[in-house]
Each structure stands twice: as structure tokens, then as C-alpha cells.
């Protein structure tokens, strides 16, 4: 398929010609209680061969963002504005036929819970083969061979036998492997993994993440890894986007964000993570308060009701003005604190923990 058949309008290059460019994405749901703005003006870029970790609490808009890329929201209750560019194809305005050819083919998705995400009514092999035949054609036999090959690649033992099993014959980890096999059967350019390890045992989690990493190295695809676990990001991703209340609050490489976090929310996430080096009797510090209601988000900086540094940055400023993610490229954050305060306060919290340690 040539790129010419994909475009419905003259190709307009956005940003620095990134592989995936999300620009000012806003997703709103119409509910009985009012309009929920789940994603609010989100922008980011992703290159092939890299992994972007999107981190945040429940309701921060991580999954909503990923579902928008594939156009999986119910159009009758969802309003999506902004742009999502996959090379020179814009996806928000693309019609259904374009999206159907794209899904499972160029962009594939691995969902959180492999127990419910695989069809209980069809064999694992059929579910993998179906995707392949839909996009690449070929006979049933070829597709079946391909399914066996994929199962083998994701480390399912005796794939020629397991191909005819139903998902309920598989363990949780094996189901997620099958899900990954299904996602990768058409060699997608972009894989979105939405909390792929959350529903799995801790021991299996590492295996699945290693598998994803290995497959990415083999295929050179881009990966978006959605998680609430900074530990997962540290091991797997090359870049991080921290989301809060539908907005990006910090962005940068994994090294930048984990070594020199600048946003108080990122500090909070790091502080709530257990460390092997800290003693067991020091309690973890959760981010106080609860995530804001997206029906009526707080004015100004959405994090200010939970932030310990509102008075340092100026209460007036934080409650009135929404901070913008700056600078436009590189390590950026959306916080009113002065740069020297961010430097001063962040290490303080880190030494804080070390001293107690």
C-alpha cells in the first residue's frame, strides 16, 4: 500500500517530521453529569524504535489518549479535537475505512487485562490468524502457520498444539503473550501497550516487559507504554510523559525525569515508590489528596490542591493561571515554581529520604 492512497488531503508535515505527532489533543465525553474533559491540550512526539512511557494516576487521561490514536472511542458520546499525525496521515479526521485498515496493521494495541480482552468464544490461533488475514490476506493455512510462528516468537511452548486452545486454557501470562502475538502479527509500526502488566503476577510482569523490549529491538517499532508504575518506565522506556488531569505536567528522557524531576507531582510519584535501598520501617509517602474531578477541574494549576509548594510558587499564581509545558522541546515541565526552586526543592526531597534511610 502506497502512502498516496492513505491521504485524503495534501500531506502537511507537522513538527520536526516525527513518526507520531500528537498536537493539542483534547478528548471530551458527554455524560449525564456533564462534559468530562479527559484529555486537555496534549502534545507529544514519538520516533520509530523508541518507547514512550506515559505515566499517571487513574483518570489522568493515559488510556483515553491511546484509545484516541486508534479511534476506539464511541463517536456518539466523545468529542475529539486536535491532531494526531502518523507520518503524513492525520487520524482524528480520518474516515472509518482508513482507520479499519490502520488498526491491527500499522498501529496495534495490547490491553490491560488479557482475561477479558481475548474473545472467550474463539481459539487463540484463530484470533491471531484473523488479524493477519484481514490485513495481509492469504489462505487460512498460511494464516495459521503465521499464528503458530507468532506464538513461538512470544515464547509459548508447543505452539503448534496451543494454537487450537481457547484463551481460558492459558495462564494469565500466556494470555498476555498471546495478546502480544496478536498485536504484532502484522508487524505494526506502532504498538500501544495499555498497562500490559497490571493484571499479571509480579514474576510474570518482568517477563512480559522483557519480551516487549526484545520484540521492539527486533522490529524497530515505536512503542507507547502506558503505566502507573515508574519502575516499569525506568526499565523499559526511553522517554517519559507524566500526565495529570488530562494534561502533560512533565516530559523528558527517562534519565532526565527520574534523575532530575522538576514537577512536584513527579516528586510525589517517585516518593511513593518503594526502593530496595530504603529500610522497610520507613513508610512510603503517597501523594496526598485524591485526583481532581474532571467534570469541574480546579482553576489554575490542576495540581495545586494537592501540592506542597503552592506557597513557594505563589498561591495567587497557582490558583489562577494554568502553567504551560515549557520549553517546547527537551526536558519540560508545567509548574509555576522558579527553576532554582525546582532544583533546590527536588534534591531536598531526595536527600530527605536518604537521610532517613
Amino acid at each position: 500500500m502506497t502512502t498516496a492512497t492513505w491521504t485524503t488531503e495534501p500531506p502537511v508535515r507537522r513538527g520536526p517530521g516525527s513518526f507520531l505527532a500528537v498536537r493539542d489533543l483534547t478528548v471530551e465525553f458527554t455524560t449525564e453529569d456533564g462534559v468530562v474533559r479527559a484529555v486537555d491540550g496534549l502534545s507529544f512526539d514519538l520516533e520509530k524504535g523508541t518507547t514512550l512511557g506515559i505515566v499517571g494516576e487513574s483518570g489522568s487521561g493515559k488510556s483515553v489518549t491511546s484509545l484516541s490514536i486508534l479511534g476506539l472511542h464511541d463517536p456518539s458520546t466523545t468529542t475529539i479535537t486536535g491532531e494526531i499525525w502518523l507520518e503524513d496521515q492525520e487520524l482524528v479526521s480520518a474516515d472509518r475505512a482508513v482507520m479499519e485498515r490502520l488498526r491491527g496493521n500499522r498501529v496495534a494495541m495490547v490491553f490491560q487485562d488479557p482475561l477479558t480482552a481475548l474473545s472467550p468464544y474463539h481459539t487463540v490461533g484463530r484470533q491471531i490468524a484473523e488479524t493477519y488475514r484481514r490485513h495481509k490476506g492469504g489462505s487460512k493455512r498460511e494464516a495459521r502457520e503465521r499464528a503458530i510462528e507468532m506464538l513461538k516468537r512470544v515464547g509459548i511452548p508447543q505452539p503448534h498444539l496451543r494454537v487450537d486452545d481457547y484463551p481460558h486454557h492459558f495462564s494469565g501470562g500466556m494470555r498476555q503473550r498471546a495478546m502480544i502475538a496478536m498485536a504484532l502479527v502484522c508487524d505494526p509500526d506502532l504498538l500501544i501497550a495499555d498497562e500490559p502488566t497490571t493484571a499479571l503476577d509480579v514474576t510474570v510482569q518482568a517477563q512480559i516487559l522483557d519480551l516487549l523490549k526484545e520484540l521492539q529491538q527486533q522490529t524497530g517499532m515505536a512503542v507507547i507504554l502506558i503505566t502507573h508504575d515508574l519502575g516499569v518506565v525506568a526499565n523499559t522506556a526511553s522517554e517519559v510523559l507524566v500526565m495529570y488531569a488530562g494534561r502533560a505536567v512533565e516530559r523528558g528522557t527517562v534519565r532526565e525525569v527520574l534523575r532530575e524531576p522538576r514537577h512536584p507531582y513527579t516528586w510525589g510519584l517517585l516518593g511513593s515508590m518503594p526502593s530496595l535501598r530504603s529500610p522497610v520501617d520507613v513508610p512510603l509517602r503517597p501523594v496526598r489528596g485524591t485526583p481532581p474531578s474532571l467534570l469541574a477541574p480546579p482553576p489554575g494549576c490542576p495540581f495545586h490542591p494537592r501540592c506542597d509548594y503552592v506557597d513557594v510558587a505563589g498561591r495567587e499564581l497557582c490558583t489562577r493561571e494554568r502553567p504551560v509545558l515549557t520549553p517546547e522541546t527537551g526536558h519540560a515541565d508545567a509548574c509555576h515554581l522558579a527553576p532554582e526552586d525546582k532544583r533546590r526543592l527536588a534534591p531536598e526531597r531526595r536527600t530527605d529520604r536518604k537521610e532517613r534511610a
Partner: protein, 326 residues
């Protein structure tokens, strides 16, 4: 599978035995005397005694029940009427006809009525339910909800009578409903039963629309349906192959019950359209205190329900591979 069938068959036989016994003993608990009915208005005691002996009602109730059961299994001899081979359901108290023959005579009509109507209400009901679920909250959904509410509220003797009046007598679009055997004249068969089929399916359709719609809405929000969409499958495939599959489970459940009870006789439908099926036979048996006929119709109705419940269980396993027959 074989173990399942064996176990369910034994269970079915026990169920039917209990139902037969209950019906038999309840019959004698009712203060109606079939001997008196057979004897006529002016009945001297010795004639009454004679009638009672003729009908076999002079023995103790449990002996009569055992005799009836034995007739079913090995056949039975009747004084003056000769041997009745197994399975013997006895002779009608009213006209002394063999009950089995009467049942077999009426059964084709009831089966035709049942399965013909089933095709209509299954197609209309499930179809409307799927469309309503896919168009949730939009005009087509609302039309389907209102229509199914009306369908669930009306009665056959009301719609049936209206339909007869307009379609048959007033506009003469259709003939009076009648039963022509399928083997004799397939077109005449369908034509003769079209009106009862449509009227009967009207009431059942509503139930299927409601259940299909609500289950379908649930299924459409399942994760695996979203996965199917995320794989790039077209909407039609996602709906028919994934969402509809789980919707079939509750549909099959009520379909089994409905078919079972319809084979037991559609009394109101048969009466409204003047058809001679199992339903009217059962009704007559009750009003005439015709014990052998009553036992046969009750047993047929019960057997139909029991058989269809086994079939439904097998279908569960066919639809959902997680269900195992054991």
C-alpha cells in the same frame, strides 16, 4: 457427552414420573366424578357402578396409577376394547378413542404452529434487538422499545380477533386459518398458518427484542469486542462474530422454554383461530374430566419442556467453549 446425556435422560425420566404421579393423584382430589359424567343426567346407582367399572375407576387410586404406568411400558388389556400395545395411553373417557392416536393426529398442527411461529419471532425479535442495541438512544431504538412494549401488552384473543376480522372477513386478503399437512401441500400449509404464526410471534417477539437488546448492549462494551475493533475488523464482523455470540446464550435459554411450552399447546391461539391442536385437546380433557387424555397432554407438555432444556444445555456448550458438559 455420552455421560451427560445418560445423566440428563435419567433425570428427565424421574421428573416426568413425579409429574405424572402428581397429576394422577391430584385428579382424584378434585370433586368431579367422570363416571357420573359418562353415565348421563339421569343415572341410577347400578348404572353409575357399571360406568365406574367400565372406566376402571373402581380400583384404589394407586392401583389405577400402576396400571396406567404398566400400560405405558408394556401395554394393557381393556375389557371389551381389546389389547392396547405399549406405549399405551389408554382410551378417552369421553369417546373411547385411543388417546395415542388422537394425540398423534393433533401433534402435526401443534408442531407446525410452534416451529413456524418460532422462525418469525426469533428473526424479528433478535433482529430488532440487535438493531436497537446498535442504534442505542436513537429513533430506531425508541421505536423498537415502544413496539416491544405494545407487543408484550396485547393479548392474542385481541390481536387475533382483530386480524381475523380485517384480514379475513373485511378485506379478504387471507383465508380462514386452517391446517393442511406439510407433506400434502407445502404452500397451502404455510398459507393456512400464516396468520396464527404472525399473531403468535407478535407476542413472543417483544421478549426477544428486550433480552437481545440489553445483552447486546452489555456485550458491545466488553473488552474483547473492543479488541476485535482494535484489530481492524469491520464493524459488521465485530457485531456478528463477537458481540452476537454472547447474546445468544440468554436468547437460547428463553427460546427453549418458549418452544417447550408451545408444544404443550397454544390454547388461546388455537381457540382464536379455530385450530384443533394439542392445546384444545388439553382444555377439553380438563373440562370433561377425561383422565387418560389429561395425563397424555400433561405428559407431552412436560416432556417437551424437559427435552428442550437438555437441548439448551447442549447449545450452551456449542456457543461458549468454556461450558463443559459434565
Amino acid at each position: 457427552m455420552l455421560a451427560f446425556l445418560t445423566r440428563r435422560t435419567i433425570g428427565a425420566v424421574i421428573t416426568l414420573l413425579i409429574i405424572a404421579a402428581a397429576t394422577f393423584f391430584l385428579f382424584f382430589a378434585v370433586p368431579a366424578d367422570p363416571a357420573r359424567l359418562a353415565c348421563g343426567k339421569v343415572c341410577p346407582p347400578e348404572l353409575l357402578e357399571q360406568a365406574r367399572r367400565n372406566l376402571g375407576l373402581d380400583a384404589p387410586v394407586w392401583e389405577q396409577f400402576v396400571a396406567w404406568l404398566a400400560g405405558l411400558v408394556v401395554g394393557r388389556d381393556y375389557e371389551g376394547l381389546g389389547h392396547c400395545p405399549a406405549p399405551c395411553l389408554g382410551y378417552s373417557f369421553v369417546n373411547r378413542e385411543p388417546v395415542l392416536e388422537t394425540i398423534l393426529d393433533r401433534l402435526p398442527l401443534t408442531l407446525s404452529l410452534t416451529f413456524g411461529a418460532a422462525v418469525f419471532f426469533l428473526l424479528f425479535g433478535v433482529g430488532a434487538g440487535v438493531v436497537a442495541a446498535l442504534r442505542r438512544g436513537r429513533p430506531l431504538d425508541k421505536i423498537a422499545s415502544v413496539a416491544s412494549l405494545i407487543g408484550a401488552s396485547v393479548q392474542i384473543y385481541f390481536v387475533g380477533t382483530l386480524a381475523m376480522y380485517f384480514l379475513v372477513y373485511q378485506w379478504q386478503i387471507l383465508d380462514r386459518p386452517q391446517y393442511i399437512p406439510l407433506t400434502e401441500d407445502p404452500i397451502g400449509w404455510a398459507y393456512g398458518l400464516l396468520l396464527p404464526w404472525l399473531v403468535l410471534s407478535l407476542i413472543f417477539t417483544a421478549n426477544y427484542t428486550r433480552i437481545t437488546r440489553s445483552t447486546m448492549v452489555e456485550q458491545l462494551s466488553e473488552d474483547f469486542v473492543r479488541t476485535a475493533t482494535a484489530k481492524g475488523l469491520p464493524r459488521r464482523t465485530v457485531v456478528t462474530r463477537f458481540a452476537l455470540r454472547g447474546t445468544l446464550i440468554p436468547v437460547v435459554t428463553i427460546f427453549g422454554v418458549d418452544l417447550g411450552s408451545l408444544i404443550g399447546g397454544a390454547i388461546i391461539t388455537e381457540t382464536t383461530f379455530g385450530l384443533q391442536g394439542i392445546g384444545r385437546l388439553a382444555l377439553r380433557a380438563v373440562t370433561d374430566s377425561d383422565l387418560p387424555m389429561l395425563m397424555a397432554t400433561v405428559l407431552l407438555a412436560a416432556a417437551a419442556i424437559v427435552v428442550f432444556s437438555i437441548i439448551v444445555d447442549i447449545l450452551y456448550a456449542v456457543i461458549d467453549p468454556r461450558v463443559r458438559l459434565s
